[in-house]
């Protein structure tokens, strides 16, 4: 624990650790959260966020969002912007192994009363059609060469091949395809791990959930309407997954490459090997950036194919087309990335590589890259809570400038998986959730127990803190009624 006198209170929800705390810190660290959230924080976060503050090129602050917790290298909830013209680095440990792990939200024009009688059938069919769990494989069959093309083309490949609508593309960061993705920078091992996994959920905290927007949980009716939430007790579908084994291998490959050159070639010393990095403007840094973009694209493809399956299932169960059921995407957010962005720092426009690891981009109204239809309301931010409590839809705000327009990504864990599995039983939890109106299926009872809401922070408090700090604004709180746990 950082001694209380070291932690400087900047406001009710912003806390600073000065550069004097640790040798080598180039900037102060700032942690977001109410006093209660700060008290609950894992001790490791203090160590991890101050290690991040030592990385070359870091600008202003090493940041941790209100859902922050124990990570590897960076804390989860970590944000760091590196000035690429001042020797700024790129680090896989600042992105996470699950490159472009993210969230997607889809509306329907159905109400809770219409869906309730079908919930079991819906969840069971989705469980069948969207494979989850350890090492699962999807239905899209591709050769290794075709897969290399897919990771360069992203979600645009999906739409061309009938796995989505043209309108879906404008509702993803980067229209579902990051330019400059180069499959020549990808190892055969990464291809082997990912080629069969398109359209699969994965495991851990990944899930697919059917939710309801109750009228009393709408914080801003006008913005909610603009986002397509406009019927009382409207049913929506939210899901959380990433780039699967493909992205995990890309990060693993480059972690090792960076470890070899970091000190010997670039003279960079780090405090934790998981922070292995290289200057952004170096052959190794650029190679990883191009490879990581393939990981980002794979994740867009994965979520796009899952969306296609969700539309098929709803269409089959309700015997109406997905178009007729109003199954429009609200948005797709990435919460494990590094992106080159322009930000104004002390009055000057700078090119920053913004690492967000378990943190969501939250661009304000009027910013470039916010889809045209959301220009006046800001970028939608999708926050997955625990499977028992609820999730949120937020939007970005102008005061988000303080965090390079970043906010939380979930509710954040407080208890280890190992402890949680000793505390709860999956079978009991499943029954309890069912009695509270949440029908849940999982490939693993232990996995289910590890995701119990008691292992998480209170998502309502986390999102309140993000709003108080002025890094995002609440629009709708969503309540789960059906869940598939990976």
């Amino acid at each position: 624990m950082v001694p209380v006198d070291v932690l400087k209170k900047i406001s009710d929800v912003v806390w600073e650790i000065p550069v004097s705390y640790k040798a080598g810190m180039r900037v102060p660290a700032r942690i977001y959260g109410t006093e209660k959230l700060i008290q609950e924080l894992d001790d490791a976060v203090y160590d991890q966020v101050t290690n991040v503050a030592t990385l070359p090129g870091i600008t202003k602050y090493a940041l941790c969002m209100p859902d922050g917790h124990f990570g590897y290298g960076f804390p989860i909830g970590g944000v760091a912007a590196m000035d690429v013209e001042q020797g700024g680095v790129i680090s896989p440990g600042g992105i996470g192994f699950d490159i472009n792990c993210g969230m997607r939200l889809v509306t329907t024009n159905l109400t809770y009363d219409e869906v309730k009688p079908q919930i079991k059938q819906l969840v069971d069919k989705l469980y069948e059609r969207v494979p989850a769990g350890v090492g699962s494989t999807g239905f899209v069959k591709l050769s290794r060469n075709e897969f290399r093309n897919v990771v360069e083309q992203g979600a645009q490949w999906c739409v061309r091949n009938g796995y989505g609508w043209e309108a879906d593309l404008e509702l993803m960061e980067e229209q579902g395809c990051l330019e400059g993705a180069d499959a020549a920078k990808i190892s055969d091992k990464a291809i082997d791990r990912g080629v069969h996994q398109i359209g699969t959920l994965g495991s851990g905290n990944h899930y697919l959930e059917i939710q309801v927007a109750k009228p009393e949980n709408i914080f801003d009716r006008e913005v909610a309407q603009a986002l397509g939430i406009n019927i009382p007790n409207q049913v929506v579908v939210m899901f959380h997954c990433g780039s699967r084994g493909f992205g995990h291998q890309v990060a693993t490959d480059y972690l090792q490459i960076f470890l070899k050159v970091m000190e010997s070639k670039y003279g960079i010393k780090i405090l934790d090997r998981e922070l292995a990095c290289a200057p952004f403007n170096s052959p190794e840094g650029q190679a990883y950036f191009s490879a990581m973009k393939c990981g980002i694209n794979m994740s867009f493809v994965n979520r796009q194919v899952i969306l296609h399956r969700i539309r098929e299932v709803f269409s089959q169960v309700f015997k109406r087309s997905a178009e007729d059921l109003g199954m429009h995407m609200v948005y797709d957010v990435a919460h494990n990335t590094a992106k080159l962005e322009q930000h104004v720092i002390d009055g000057n426009k700078r090119s920053l590589l913004v690492h967000r690891k378990g943190a969501t981009r939250a661009f304000a109204p009027g910013m470039a890259d916010v889809p045209e239809r959301y220009q006046t309301i800001g970028q939608p931010v999708i926050i997955g809570g625990s499977m028992e409590t609820g999730s949120y839809l937020l939007v970005g705000v102008p005061s988000g400038e303080q965090t390079f327009f970043s906010t939380a990504h979930g509710s954040g864990r407080t208890m280890s998986r190992t402890k949680a599995r000793k505390t709860w039983r999956g079978e009991t939890l499943q029954k309890e959730m069912q009695s509270r109106g949440i029908y849940v299926r999982s490939t693993s009872y232990t996995g289910l127990a590890e995701e119990a809401s008691g292992a998480y922070k209170d998502v309502d408090r986390v999102i309140e803190a993000a709003e108080m700090a002025g890094i995002s604004k609440r629009v709708v709180r969503l309540t789960p009624i059906g869940n598939i746990k990976g």
Binding site: G133, V134, G135, G245, Q249, S416, R417, T418
Partner: protein
């Protein structure tokens, strides 16, 4: 079971400590710990397929990292749950430098959701607080796996 999962290290990920009287035993224990995170009933894995790993590294701890990573690779690429059977580690002096080489025979089978009780998927081996240490009575390792 020469390994334990740790309650207080990592939250969203899983940490284990493994031990053995020599390096070979430690590597076998660490491999089983990693697979045990994905399949709870290790004894249900039939040993009917063999994969042999040949790895080298100039750092001994990174050799363990590579070895665990190889198990994770086969989990996705061939859906194989492999248990290490034999591990041989040698020190090789090549010119002025020291290289460690490993040959491991692993056996297992494809994941079968009906017989194998799944826990959670291992995404990757992290190097955060990664430790391989010689102790008075053998070797011990601490590893955090990304979940």
């Amino acid at each position: 079971m020469p390994y334990e999962f740790l309650d207080d290290i990592a939250t969203a990920d899983i940490a284990f400590r493994a031990w053995g009287k020599d390096l070979e035993e430690l590597f076998i224990a660490s491999g089983d710990a990693a697979i045990n995170i994905m399949v709870e009933n290790l004894e249900a894995i039939t040993l009917n397929q063999t994969r042999t790993f040949n790895l080298e590294n100039d750092a001994l701890d990174l050799l363990l990292f590579n070895f665990l990573q190889e198990l994770v690779y086969y989990k996705d690429s061939e859906l194989l749950m492999l248990r290490p059977q034999q591990v041989n580690i040698k020190e090789n002096h090549i010119q002025e430098s020291l290289i460690y080489t490993l040959t491991a025979v692993t056996k297992g089978e494809r994941l079968d959701p009906l017989r194998h009780h799944q826990r959670v998927d291992v995404k990757a081996v992290t190097l955060h607080r990664f430790q391989l240490k010689k102790t008075n009575d053998g070797w011990t390792a601490m590893v955090i796996l990304d979940i």
